[in-house]
């Protein structure tokens, strides 16, 4: 039951999102990968925005799990629990 929050910088590119601004979804998966899979099922175009063609998290995308940045971006497999909050946002590289 991890909560996944998509930053507004992402949702503005989703024609099927409810509108501009952050979007929060409840997911059922036990790992980050499973949670992401559920989000991508809801927003198919989002996959290519968050992951590169090899399945790793994009170099300039950051994923925070309960406030800690995901370290192994090539393998987004971290376990998540019911109370986990996952934030997906643009990495702050540059002004």
């Amino acid at each position: 039951m991890a909560k996944v929050v998509l930053a507004s910088a992402l949702t503005r590119h989703l024609s099927d999102a409810s509108g501009p601004g952050e979007v929060a979804l409840q997911t059922q998966g036990a790992t980050l990968a499973e949670a992401l899979g559920e989000v991508f099922a809801r927003y198919p175009n989002l996959r290519g925005y968050v992951l590169d063609e090899h399945g790793g998290v994009r170099h300039h995308v950051a994923i925070f799990i309960d406030g800690t940045a995901l370290a192994d971006k090539a393998h987004p497999q971290a376990p998540v629990s019911q109370s986990t909050e996952i934030y997906i946002m643009q990495a702050l590289s540059g002004g």
Binding site: A9, L10, H13, S15, N45, G48, Y49, V50, D52, E53, H54, R58, H60, V61, Q90, A91
Partner: protein, 370 residues
């Protein structure tokens, strides 16, 4: 459209959006703005079915491709070329091999007139891709990607090599010619299954003497093909201007005033002897010579040139025109070019006179007529 009527709409891909400018009552105005704020690297209108395509580089979120069937009123996200897990980029200048990932959609052109829906995409890091379904899916051209010479290519302005010019032969769409920074010129006669590198006559002054004429490291900045005489091609190369009259098999060096350095080249669609360039101070500076922006035009295959400056700034100009920033329309009389400083000029008389039609655009990557 008849061959002689001028095209009256421009698609201008910029650092902060796609701008369509249209000519009404003799004036050029911004007709529509798409993707305001986003980096649009290429756009083109497919004359076979009227579809517009726009390539975006969203930075954080990667390279995207959008398609419009109503001239930019609405856009649909379509697939982008993707590299496979085993695809690697290695370069001839000693960089460590790295996994290939799509970094830039640098070239996007239509297939042959008899191939509806076929598109070709040139990318950084060096893959050529084909779509048979208007961009709904893409396949890498393995015949080129798997060539061992690719490992000798260099980056040209980017870390990894890139394909920026794809010429589909109007006589036979299976004949393809591509130009690569820095990887030379490659040709296929069989729709991309097999390839040969053809750079005879080109040289690279930036290389050690014994590698000067090495085909795999030549840096053509842009290659264009005459539609009516497809054996005639022109290249603005890092080290000069080259012309071929034999389908790109061999190349002759051309001297262009006031400088042989530049990125852009356009060839007249009906007259292979006529071509235009926007010269700049070479290499380290990349600004107009003496602060004077000019266009160089030849009408005799490069024997002589006119340096055209009417209507262009002749002092304190620092505009650079990128490789896709100069366009010619189907009549061969109307040209437009856009600069890194967001200036857009247009000529209705083959470059004799220019008018600034917008001086406040974002930095311009690419200009195309519709």
């Amino acid at each position: 459209m008849s061959a002689n009527s001028k095209q009256s709409r421009l698609l201008v891909a910029t650092r902060k959006g796609l701008f369509a400018l249209a000519r009404t009552n003799g004036a050029w105005d911004v007709e529509s703005v798409s993707f305001l704020g986003d980096n649009v690297t290429r756009a083109f209108a497919d004359t076979r079915d009227g579809t517009w395509y726009a390539a975006l580089n969203l930075g954080h979120f990667g390279v995207k491709l959008r398609r419009s069937e109503d001239r930019g009123k609405s856009w649909q996200e379509i697939a982008v070329p993707e590299y496979a897990a085993e695809d690697k980029v290695a370069t001839g200048d000693g960089k460590e091999p790295a996994p290939a990932k799509l970094q830039l959609l640098w070239e996007l052109v239509a297939g042959g007139a008899n191939e509806p829906g076929v598109l070709w995409a040139g990318t950084i890091p060096g893959g050529l891709f084909r779509s048979a379904d208007r961009g709904a899916s893409w396949q890498i051209v393995k015949g080129l990607w798997d060539r061992s010479e690719r490992m000798q290519w260099f980056g040209g302005g980017y870390d990894a090599p890139g394909i920026h010019s794809v010429c589909v032969d109007p006589r036979d769409a299976r004949t393809l010619r591509v130009a690569i920074s820095c990887g030379g010129v490659w040709q296929s006669r069989d729709g991309g299954a097999s390839w040969n590198v053809t750079t005879k006559g080109m040289f690279a002054a930036y290389m050690p003497p014994e590698r000067r004429e090495d085909p795999a490291i030549q840096d053509p900045h842009r290659m264009v093909q005459c539609a009516a005489a497809p054996d005639h091609l022109w290249i603005q190369h890092h080290n000069g201007v080259f012309r071929s009259t034999d389908g790109g098999m061999s190349w002759s060096e051309i001297q262009v005033p006031p400088s042989v350095f530049g990125f852009a080249v356009a060839v007249h669609p009906h007259d292979p002897q006529t071509a235009w360039f926007v010269p700049a101070v070479k290499d380290e500076k990349r600004v107009p010579v003496d602060g004077k922006l000019v266009v160089a035009r030849t009408r005799d295959g490069g024997v002589s040139f006119d340096v055209l400056r009417e209507g262009l700034p002749q002092r304190d100009a620092f505009d650079l025109v990128y490789r896709h920033g100069l366009a010619i329309d189907s009549s061969g009389e109307r040209l437009a070019f856009g600069s890194t400083t967001g200036n857009l000029w247009l000529s209705d008389d083959a470059g004799e006179n220019w008018q600034l039609i917008n001086g406040n655009l974002p930095p311009i990557h690419a200009v195309n007529f519709e």
